[in-house]
């Protein structure tokens, strides 16, 4: 089987950017909403920031998705068959998330501020929005996971991986923004960064485990073994080892461990840079998972034929 020709080419960087931004946006929103709910110091300001950033990132992601479509004018039709289609379900989930996000922004951040004095209503609205934010983070993985024709995608590990990465990249996006707009939180900024970084530390460790588990479960099938080979030793190996393992996992993880051990100001300065690396890793992760998709071969007796177009 010719590896170079056999993996799918239909969903490339634009779809990877969409999966990445949608996951990150959902993750950022959820982290902010939880911070507000738990009333941590500076939690309200963090949550307001996440309320703007989360749906905003998803919106930008959506532009990448639409750019990948054929006739863009009728993209809105994508909601019509939620009974069987994960894309249709995703369209509904994302639309609901963005509408609820917009209500949050308008009622709390700008131009109205009414929700600031009504924490109960705000928390209830945040909870409902969180449901759709979580849906936004996970459905892309379920969409790939439901594809039986491509064994590398057809596993429950993909939605788990995308979920953990979405939460982690959401946190790293908040760390980056907090660093540049830290005055938002005033004196509690350092404490906030530390808190976010220590939470991300666990998520990155979990993500590393999930990546390992993904490599294990995809060894079972001959077509997904081709995908794994493409990723570890083939055309996608630079993206996998440098993009996902070094930039996406090792650098942020080590920096966050250092910050957790003794949060000196130097270490805090490193956090935003490490977060930027981690974000790149999240983008590479989506792209590699997509680009390594290989169709299961067609079998006639013991002879196999590649069905990849």
């Amino acid at each position: 089987m010719n590896e170079i020709e056999s993996s799918q080419k239909l969903w490339g960087w634009k779809i990877a950017a969409y999966l990445f931004l949608a996951g990150m946006g959902g993750g950022a929103y959820v982290v902010g909403a939880v911070a507000d709910y738990l009333s941590i110091p500076g939690g309200v300001a963090l949550s307001q920031l996440a309320t703007v950033v989360g749906p905003g990132l998803v919106f930008v992601g959506l532009l990448f998705l639409i750019a990948d479509l054929g006739p863009k004018g009728r993209a809105y039709l994508a909601y019509k068959k939620p009974g069987t289609s994960w894309i249709a379900r995703g369209t509904i989930i994302i639309s609901a998330f963005m509408i609820l996000g917009a209500i949050n922004v308008v009622g709390w951040v700008w131009p109205l501020k009414g929700l600031a004095t009504m924490p109960d209503i705000r928390h209830a609205l945040g909870l409902v929005t969180c449901v759709f934010a979580l849906g936004t983070m996970v459905y892309t993985g379920l969409l790939l996971g439901a594809n039986k024709a491509i064994p590398f995608w057809s596993t429950a590990v993909v939605p788990l991986l995308f979920f953990v990465s979405a939460l982690s990249t959401g946190i790293m996006a908040l760390i980056l923004i907090l660093y540049f707009y830290g005055t938002l939180l005033g004196p509690v900024m350092g404490r906030q960064l530390e808190l976010l970084a220590s939470l991300d530390l666990y998520l990155l460790a979990l993500e590393a485990l999930v990546v390992y588990a993904y490599l294990q479960v995809t060894q079972r099938d001959s077509a997904s073994r081709v995908s794994v080979k493409l990723m570890l030793r083939g055309r996608l190996s630079a993206e996998f080892w440098v993009g996902i393992i070094v930039l996406g996992l090792a650098i942020p993880l080590l920096t966050e461990v250092a910050a957790a051990l003794g949060a000196s100001s130097a270490q805090l300065l490193l956090l935003p840079a490490a977060s930027a690396c981690g974000l790149l890793g999240g983008l590479f992760l989506r792209h590699v998972v997509l680009a390594a998709g290989v169709k299961a071969p067609l079998e006639v007796g013991s002879m196999t034929f590649s069905a990849q177009e």
Binding site: P71, A78, T84, S85, W86, L143, A149, V300, S302, M303
Partner: protein
């Protein structure tokens, strides 16, 4: 009720690609798009190697995964079992191409001529006009068992052009049809049945 299907006899197929090219004539598919294809397989190690041919086309599955994943309802199934795309509803998301285990769905951004870098010749101009009249740019396309030819009382083009008569077209719901009898008497099988797609294209073993 009629359920159209096809039987492809792998014992007769010589892998000549006539079906792949013959499909072009009535359907005007652009460069790189082959609704009918011949796949080549290999088994064993030198010096004892067997080569095999596997002609594929849309399997017009009873449970089509392409229809399942389509978010707009552009991919539909007729009462006669033929799976087709409503070009006016397709948004070009390509999920159907990813879901089809048989590689039978082709996303076409725009019609591409057969000789890259050269101006269209008169035949290509005609083909492009025919294609554009049937398919919107940036939509997904596929074999429709030559529906237009069927309406004219003809068979699908790939059946007609096959020089070894390896292809038989007919009604799977009629137990006395040639396709049904061939499947029954010659151990007809479907490709990758474990995927649960229940294809309407059957194959007869090569030996």
């Amino acid at each position: 009720m009629v359920r159209f299907g096809m039987v492809i006899d792998l014992k007769r197929c010589v892998g000549c690609y006539s079906c792949q090219i013959g499909c072009r004539q009535p359907n005007f598919t652009p460069r790189g798009t082959f609704w009918a294809r011949v796949l080549k397989g290999e088994l064993g190690q030198f010096p004892s190697v067997t080569r095999g041919n596997l002609p594929v086309l849309c399997m017009h599955c009873k449970e089509p995964p392409c229809k399942e994943v389509c978010p707009t309802g552009a991919t539909q199934k007729k009462d006669n079992g033929i799976v087709f795309v409503d070009s006016n509803l397709c948004i070009g998301c390509k999920a159907c191409s990813q879901a089809c285990p048989y590689g039978a769905r082709f996303y076409v951004e725009k019609w591409q001529n057969y000789y890259p870098g050269q101006p269209l010749n008169q035949y290509e101009e005609y083909a492009k006009a025919q294609w554009d009249a049937r398919h919107k740019p940036g939509t997904n396309t596929k074999c429709e068992f030559c529906s237009e030819r069927l309406e004219d009382g003809l068979q699908p083009a790939c059946v007609d052009v096959c020089p070894t008569n390896a292809r038989v077209f007919g009604d799977l719901d009629d137990p006395q049809s040639e396709v049904s009898l061939l499947i029954k008497t010659r151990h007809g099988f479907q490709l990758n049945p474990e995927l649960g797609t229940d294809p309407s294209v059957y194959y007869l073993p090569s030996r």
